[in-house]
Amino acid sequence: MCLAIPARIKERLGDDMAKVDLDGVLKDISIALTPDVVEGDYVIVHVGYALSVIDPQEAQKTLALFDEMQAAGALAAVTP
């Protein structure tokens, strides 16, 4: 379930709120569940609340996993 979408924190507002930017769509949402976010972080937004922060490194790793050739290459680069 749960329609939720990653959006970028544009600006922290007061009162546990923040303005997020999703490709030019701006919305004020609550960051009460992810209080430590900073501008530039990407959060998953569901019914007006940020539920979790996206980890950019894990995102990269996952993308590399999809393309296993790439992943194998990356692994080769890392392995001494």
């Binding site: 329609l3 999703l22 490709d23 919305k27 004020d28 937004v45």
Partner: protein
């Protein structure tokens, strides 16, 4: 113009409101028409001051269309109920291939409606009519009790003339024909939704509300013989229109998601609300079913017009006795594009 001693009509535009006397046919109503409507729609027909207007009909078949406009909110980014009414009816006439000639406009106004808003709407309507070159030559005003109309309802009718030999119709799509859209989809619906309470998002999308008759005239002049039918994907969006046409022509359709033009903010807003852009209303776009050999030329021609810059071929008409509209998703699989029952509502799941 007026050579008699006329009492100067006075209306408190700034803070006045429409009341039942304005619709009663007496002096108050006359004042309303004089101050608000006459100048905004100014043309020789209306200047005659009659209940009807007579005009000559040229060669060719006459086309007539009518529409009711009940949109809320009345004002939205990129337009208002007035300009929408002009564009919508001009388009309905023009989509038959006809040259739109004249419009009529009937207003049903709710008691208590601010005169300033009424003037704003009527001025906008007048401007849209002038820009399109299609005058409003007759009209009517009624006022109803509070609660009986959402501010204001507008009904329009439009007439035009279609050249001999051009007979576009929704039942003329044939297997092998190409499906063309004139530009990005979903703009109007998203613009209007962004103004609805409780959805509160900010987006720089404006309604695409526009009069398409000059674009259509170019298409008819360039490749009239290759056009099977044209329709505008208003309520229900592209999905509803393609399904209607598929049923009318007893065919199926296959479109490609990757080729459907969409603005990134429209995609984002739809993702946020759980809507499918294919179901979202458009007010300044058209779908054309055309003979395959003319498709690329038509698209090039459309792109040369300001309202067709993002025109694209998005799919083909295929044989299908079940009249399904299918789509190859950008990801690779296939799915149906069904029409929705009722208006799409934002969802959480």
């Amino acid at each position: 113009m007026n050579n008699m001693k006329t009492r100067k009509a006075k209306l408190d535009i700034k803070s006045g409101r429409v009341n039942l006397t304005h619709g009663a046919g007496g002096r108050a109503m006359n004042d309303l028409i004089e101050v608000i409507f006459k100048d905004a729609f100014d043309n020789d027909f209306l200047a005659q001051g009659n209940d009807q207007s007579a005009f000559d009909v040229g060669d060719g078949r006459m086309v007539m269309s009518t529409d009711g406009y009940v949109i809320t909110p009345l004002f939205f980014p990129g337009g208002d109920i007035g300009s929408l009414a002009v564009h919508g009816t001009v388009n309905d006439v023009a989509l038959s291939g006809a040259k739109p000639l004249y419009l009529s406009a009937g207003f049903i106004i709710e008691e208590g409606f601010p005169l300033a808003d009424l003037k704003r709407i009527v001025d906008s309507m007048g401007a849209a009519s002038r820009a399109a070159g299609v005058p409003i030559i007759t009209g009517d005003t009624k006022v109803v009790n509070k609660g009986m109309a959402d501010g204001v309802f507008i009904t329009t009718a439009g007439v035009g003339v279609v050249p001999k030999g051009l007979e576009l119709s929704g039942d003329k799509a044939r297997v092998g024909d190409k499906i063309i859209v004139s530009g990005t989809l979903g703009d109007h619906g998203v613009a209007v939704m962004s103004k609805r309470e409780n959805l509160s998002f900010e987006v720089e999308i404006e309604s695409d509300s526009a009069a398409l008759h000059t674009l259509i005239a170019d298409m008819v002049a360039g490749h009239g013989a290759a056009l099977r039918c044209m329709r505008d994907p208003t309520r229900g969006g592209l999905a509803a229109t393609l399904n209607e046409l598929a049923e009318q022509s007893n065919v199926g359709m296959c479109i490609r998601e990757a080729d459907v033009p969409l603005k990134p903010q429209v995609v984002a807003a739809c993702e946020l609300l759980g809507l499918d852009p294919l179901n979202v209303a458009n007010e300044g776009k058209l779908i054309a079913i055309v003979a395959p050999e003319a498709a690329d030329d038509l698209v090039a021609l459309m792109r040369a017009h300001p309202l067709g810059r993002d025109a694209a071929v998005i799919g083909d008409v295929v044989a299908d006795e079940r009249n399904f509209v299918r789509m190859k998703t950008a990801f690779g699989g296939e799915r149906m594009v069904d029409w929705l029952s009722g208006e799409q509502l934002p969802r959480i799941c």
